[in-house]
Symmetry: C4
Subunit: 284 residues, 4 copies
């Protein structure tokens, strides 16, 4: 058995190594995982204290989430996904500013809820990290946040036509989702949610919803765990495309009834797709 297994492992590593930067996860598993921030010695007096090392499984899931969203076409070279620290709800974990598809466990950093890094060590930071910090502050129920630029959702974000719940996979859209118009919060900007104030305004627009659109920019999805936040980003795009296609047919459309949407969400579980997405992220 052992001799059969070893070449298999080697093959998996090779294949992964040729395609992505997630090879450490794929080849060496949880053993090689390490929270970059854990032994951080703050370089300035203002750096907040670390909550200690995060669960390696959580780090792996966060790396996998980055890669899933790239494989599924939600992320291109931009976007971010974060998760609340498992040891301290006032800390969250997110990569330094690099393309999500390339993120490895070593790239994950720890932030406080004002989005200050615990141990930056000179690495560049996502300018829009305030989206994440401000949502974690305002929504104790949220454990994971995704910000993306997925294409059909961007098209709806600039249109007077609202995105609506059409298929059961989009039931979380519910009655309608809010759209964040950055002009309302910041006037004429460079379109980035790059300050505490803009992040707070976005979190207020989100309210208690599972997602929001950002005009001319993209979307934010949140959830009680990574699979929910990731799944909502994937199915928000799917539903935007389904609605665009249905509208182009020119007839009348039957949308989900709000009661149907509530019942679908009450039994929602992303366990089955997550198993598939995770496998593809690790071995493809």
């Amino acid at each position: 058995m052992k001799s059969t297994m070893r070449p298999m492992v080697r093959v998996l590593c090779q294949a992964t190594a040729t395609r992505s930067a997630v090879l450490v996860v794929a080849c060496f598993g949880a053993a090689g995982l390490w929270v970059a921030a854990q032994s951080a010695a703050p370089s300035t007096g203002r750096a907040p204290a670390s909550a200690g090392p995060a669960d390696p499984k959580l780090i792996e899931d966060l790396v996998v989430a980055n890669r899933i969203l790239a494989i599924e076409g939600v992320f291109d070279a931009m976007g971010q996904v974060s998760v609340r620290h498992d040891r301290d709800p006032t800390r969250y974990l997110m990569a330094y500013a690099r393309a999500p598809e390339l993120v490895t466990p070593e790239d994950i950093m720890e932030f406080d809820l004002d989005s200050n890094p615990i141990d930056a060590r000179g690495r560049p930071l996502y300018k829009e990290r305030f989206i994440h910090g401000e949502i974690y502050k305002a929504r104790p129920d949220v454990v994971a946040v995704v910000h993306n630029h997925s294409p059909f959702v961007v098209s709806f974000s600039v249109s007077s036509v609202p995105l609506r719940a059409l298929a059961h996979s989009g039931a979380f859209i519910g009655d309608r989702l809010p759209t964040f118009e950055i002009r309302g919060a910041g006037g004429m900007t460079d379109m980035l949610v790059s300050s505490l104030a803009l992040g707070r305004a976005l979190a207020q627009t989100l309210g208690d919803k599972p997602a929001l659109l950002m005009r001319g920019h993209g979307a934010v999805t949140v959830g009680p765990n990574l699979p929910h936040a990731v799944g909502r980003s994937i199915y928000l795009e799917v539903n935007a495309k389904l609605q665009a296609q249905a509208m182009a047919l020119g007839g009348t459309i039957t949308y989900l009834d709000p009661e149907e949407a509530r019942k679908v969400e009450a039994r929602r579980d992303y366990g089955r797709p997550w198993e598939l997405w995770r496998r593809k992220a690790l071995f493809k």
Copy 2:
């Protein structure tokens, strides 16, 4: 010759192992196939008796069908395909509740026509298995059933514009296909066909047709064998897309004449595409 072949086989196994869970099929062929349910000792008094081991070739085809539908974009992480047991028309075979792309021969279970599992062994079951059982009850001619969420078909399912037979590959659409409105059968639901009653209502809506649409949800296709049920799912999506594109051009459209559609279906044979799809499912 033998020494030339062996490395080839090894290569095929490696390549397959890095991409999917169907590796057992790809590397070891029919020899490794096994009906999970065959030696089942019912764990409760209510579990029905097994019809005995199914033909390993049929199990392989069912695993391949799962993978084909994922590769061709008909299944995402959801959906199911089943086949009637070759030894007993009152039994059918289907995977436990996991993403179709990951299904292996070991995951195939046996069900009676009330959709009770013969030997669940704690594995989760597709909640919508009643679609399959009720159709097998109502339609002795049906040997295979697919339930999917393919995107252009979902867009038609919510539209007042009917999906029609436009190209010869969609001739099975015939005059028109029925749409299952779950509100008619169950009022405000969670959109799942998750009971004997809902499955029966769906089978009644299907009548003697080869396929039906499910409002805000997806489609069901059936056939006298797996290639037919699979091919109809693939070409239902193709035809929905072709019609959406043709309608967007804004002119008048010439659809297939019902007599043309009948003549096309009279000579329909999925042997040639099945050879291609199967190869891709096994070696890609």
Copy 3:
């Protein structure tokens, strides 16, 4: 140098072997090519004589053309490409009836211009081979023929909106292309051009044009060599898509002027794309 090259070759063969049936071409090159029909002993008195073995390079190009059209999304599991025999203009070469992506040099057969096979040896024949034979009869300038079901072209084939030359890559469309309405030639049929009479009617509709649309079915493209016939199939689909997208914008459209189209075609050369497509077909 030699030791560096050998592993490279081995790698190329492995990679190809895991993806397609063209492995013989990829791994062993022209040396392994063989016209299946060359030593054929006619099995019935009616079988025509062979023109002798075709140029192995031509056979390789024909296999490559099959694979290119599949990779570029023009062929799905169906469609055919043929080429006139280099030794005898009254013979043409085409695979037996299998999915184009799987075609290997051994699958290539020889036909006379009535589309009788020289040495069928029980292999199934494309029912629509008469498209090819009748065009070779009517058009001495034609050396290669493709019949496909490419999706945007099918959408135009059923629409009252004509496909027009919009981009320079579609200049061969010229003033407009004819559409073959099989009802005019055969009444209510099974939509297949499966007889000499239907093939002749199609060839008459084609006239001296480089391509034609088939209502509810697909297209035919022809050329003075394989790269032209293949390139026209690829760019016919590209142009159909470009026009559909431009029309959806809702404004007025500037099409190519017929004089521009003529000038573009006068300098048309598919050498550069053919080098790329061929490489992908052999090594991917």
Copy 4:
């Protein structure tokens, strides 16, 4: 560590070798790079003098840019990307006339600003090289030029509907982009910018803009470096698609305000996507 790394490198080389011609870059890195033109002995009296060997890193980036644009769907088998010589602003570097996806360091040639090759050695030249030379003459700020046929941009190029800045990734579109109508400069042509005069007319139409559309043909994007010119080609297509999708919804659309567009461009940096694109170009 060393023994672990070596097989990894070998694997990367194998994988690359099976997919593309960029293998020299991928396997041997900058060490193997070489400017083909550097030791050129002019074959005719008119050939201009070489500016000397270019920075191997610049050549590698140019090869990578060719491949990125193919992978991202901006180039099909056609198109060109060039970069100004780092030692002499009156020279630029570009491949000989072959499909961009196949370009290797050995294929890069040196041109003067009249688009004469320094050392052609019989290799075919892109007929549209005058686009590049004339822009380098007219725009001292431009260091890189891309000419492409990306599909949604072509659809806008023939439409009376203008392409506009809709998402922040398309902010460089600004107020609007010019469209080059070759009929204005050359009457009825073969649609190619194949002379100094046509190139000059195109450069005049471009003016001080970052991009222009070419009616019935494609687009040109320029930038102060390769990542900018490449990124603008990629996001021009993305934005054309986003706008087409938004317009198809039928409502009113909020475009970027010109002030927003200016502010976005003031902070634009393609470093993060370039890292991802480059990785994919080298290892995929």
